[in-house]
């Protein structure tokens, strides 16, 4: 380890201690301060534009630093934004609204921690909404980490709305069946028998001893399926087997990377609706009137998008001005 690295690490640790123990909490920027911060950031980008036009591309690390700052600062700003609601998000909400209390909803958690910042907020909002509406939730995962993420989503929902914790009982109102390997083969087997695929729940309670599952043998006993998916196996597999073979209505919450790929399923009505990425989650929170992490994050998300757009514009302005000069 070089001397310079030791100094950087030490400074970072001191900085962290200062932030953790010496700064009064929570840190919040007023509207005026927020505006000043935004203007300052804008000026930095103007400076970058001028430098780039002069033919001096800024360094990689400066770009990283600017992205980091642009993502961090909005956490301390208290600006409220009007979140746009896309038709596919509204379809999910409308479909859930149509379900009468007591309906059995299968919630498939097909994601892992790396995708959690996108999918966990919508999963939490879904849990809050489902429990509030009296829907019975059967949880499972095609990804090993899925059931654990579901557990965390339920804990977050209970923390945000303590009244739910008193009202909701495991085994009666929701159950976590856990994970099974086999991707689409798991869905296929569930079409015949849930019990065959999940002989017991996550806590090794036998299938038959769980009251909620008393009359659930396969998809024909399920009213709706909500799939939170970060890739394969995920939404495509649910559509191909649960929807097209067993006629189960399925809606999905997808990571933004995956979302554009499932739009053909929306157009062909194989998929009821779609919550795409953080913005989809925020829109769902808005519709369910249960603001959560996605609503909080959307300001940072907006900043991030603007920063990338500005970087693309600066890069292209410089490219075209150089091209003109060459001519």
């Amino acid at each position: 380890m070089k001397k310079k690295e030791v100094v950087i690490v030490s400074l970072l640790i001191i900085f962290a201690f200062v932030l953790k123990y010496l700064i009064p909490k929570p840190v919040e920027f007023s509207y005026t301060v927020s505006m000043i911060v935004i203007i300052l950031l804008g000026l930095v980008f103007v400076y970058i534009l001028i430098r780039t036009l002069q033919g001096q591309l800024i360094g990689r690390r400066v770009v990283f630093l600017l992205v980091g700052i642009s993502l961090s600062l909005p956490f301390f700003m208290k600006l409220t934004l009007n979140i746009p609601v896309s038709p596919e998000v509204r379809s999910v909400y409308d479909a859930l609204q149509k379900l009468p209390p007591g309906s059995k909803v299968l919630a498939a958690f097909d994601y892992d921690p790396p995708s959690a910042p996108e999918l966990q907020p919508m999963a939490v909002a879904f849990m809050k909404y489902a429990f509030d509406r009296g829907l019975k939730v059967i949880i499972m995962g095609l990804w090993p980490q899925g059931p654990q993420q579901a557990d965390q989503a339920i804990q977050s929902a209970f923390k945000a709305e303590p009244s739910l914790k008193k009202k909701i009982k495991y085994g009666r109102d929701y159950v976590n069946l856990g994970f099974q390997a086999g991707n689409e083969f798991v869905i296929l087997r569930m079409g015949e028998s849930f019990k065959a695929m999940f002989p017991s729940d996550l806590y090794n309670t036998p299938y038959d001893s769980i009251p909620l599952l008393n009359n659930v043998s396969n998809f024909s006993n399920i009213d709706f399926c909500m799939d939170f998916s970060a890739g394969k196996p995920g939404t495509a597999e649910w559509v191909q087997i649960a929807v097209d073979r067993f006629k189960l209505p399925v809606a999905a919450g997808n990571t933004a990377v995956q979302a554009p790929m499932v739009y053909p399923y929306l157009n062909s009505h194989q998929l009821v609706g779609l919550l795409g990425g953080m913005s989809g989650g925020a829109a769902f929170e808005k519709l369910t009137k249960k603001p959560g992490k996605a609503t909080t994050y959307i300001l940072s998300q907006s900043f991030a998008h603007v920063v990338v757009v500005i970087f693309i514009i600066i890069g292209n302005v410089a490219y075209f001005s150089r091209k003109k000069e060459k001519k």
Binding site: M1, E5, I8, V9, L12, A16, L19, K20, P26, R61, F64, L71, S72, F75, F76, P114, S115, A116, P117, E118, P144, Q145, G178, F179, Q180, A181, E184, F185, L188, F198, P199, S200, A236, V239, Q240, I241, D244, R245, T255, A256, V257, A259, P260, M261, P264, N267, S268, H269, Q270, G277, M278, S279, K293, T296, Y297, S300, Q301, A304, H305, V308
Partner: protein, 213 residues
């Protein structure tokens, strides 16, 4: 939050910063975090597959005396094929792993052949062959674009004929649609990647440093 809770948060923060330090340059802290990630992930998968699959889907089945003896014998076939899979670790008997591999390939091919044909080919073709000139002008344009875009996109992927004349024009239009598709995907990818970083920053500023509500 007790000692282990606090210690956990500090450890998670250290590991997060360790990975982020890669942005400065490749360094020992990043490499150490990377190695821990590989080891922990491997162990995580090892354990989860043991309890959720081998224990539940095999052990509980073969020891369940409520089932008929036939039902208790059947899972052994899967188990034996699975053990044969491990033969790949040993050079001399590695060929045995071809049996379970053939099983997986055969099952996947058999299933995929139909589900992809039905859901991703036929259902999509059926949803593309739609009456174009109905509804208001916005609907007509949208329907026309979907029909023309899908057709031209497919023409672009058809390499058995030279892309010349009308066919070439259709292929070129197909490229335009694909470019818009890739642009939309890029936009969504940016959204996705930024969201992930926002999640980590929320942990650092919120859970760790307690600076935000």
């Amino acid at each position: 939050m007790g000692f282990w809770g606090q210690f956990g948060v500090w450890l998670a923060a250290l590991l997060t910063i360790g990975i982020i330090s890669f942005l400065y340059k490749d360094n020992f802290l990043y490499k150490a975090c990377e190695a821990i990630f590989v080891g922990i992930s491997a162990g995580y998968w090892f354990i989860v597959y043991y309890w959720d699959n081998l224990y539940k889907k095999f052990y509980l089945q073969v020891t369940n005396h409520d089932l008929t003896s036939w039902e208790r014998i059947i899972p052994w076939v899967g188990f034996i094929l699975g053990v044969m899979m491990l033969s790949r670790l040993f050079e001399k008997i590695g060929w045995l792993s071809r049996w379970p591999l053939a099983f997986i390939v055969g099952a996947t091919a058999g299933l995929y052949m139909m589900i992809y044909f039905v859901s991703n080919a036929m259902a999509q073709v059926a949803s593309t062959i739609i009456p174009v000139f109905i509804g208001d002008w916005a609907t007509i344009i949208a329907n026309f674009f979907i029909v023309a875009g899908t057709f031209c996109g497919l023409v672009y992927f058809f390499f058995s004929k030279e892309h010349k004349g009308a066919f070439g024009l259709a292929s070129r239009v197909g490229i335009w649609f694909l470019m818009i598709t890739f642009g939309a995907s890029f936009g969504y990818t940016v959204m996705s990647r930024m969201s992930l970083m926002i999640g980590r920053l929320d942990f650092l500023f919120g859970t760790w440093l307690g600076m935000i509500k």
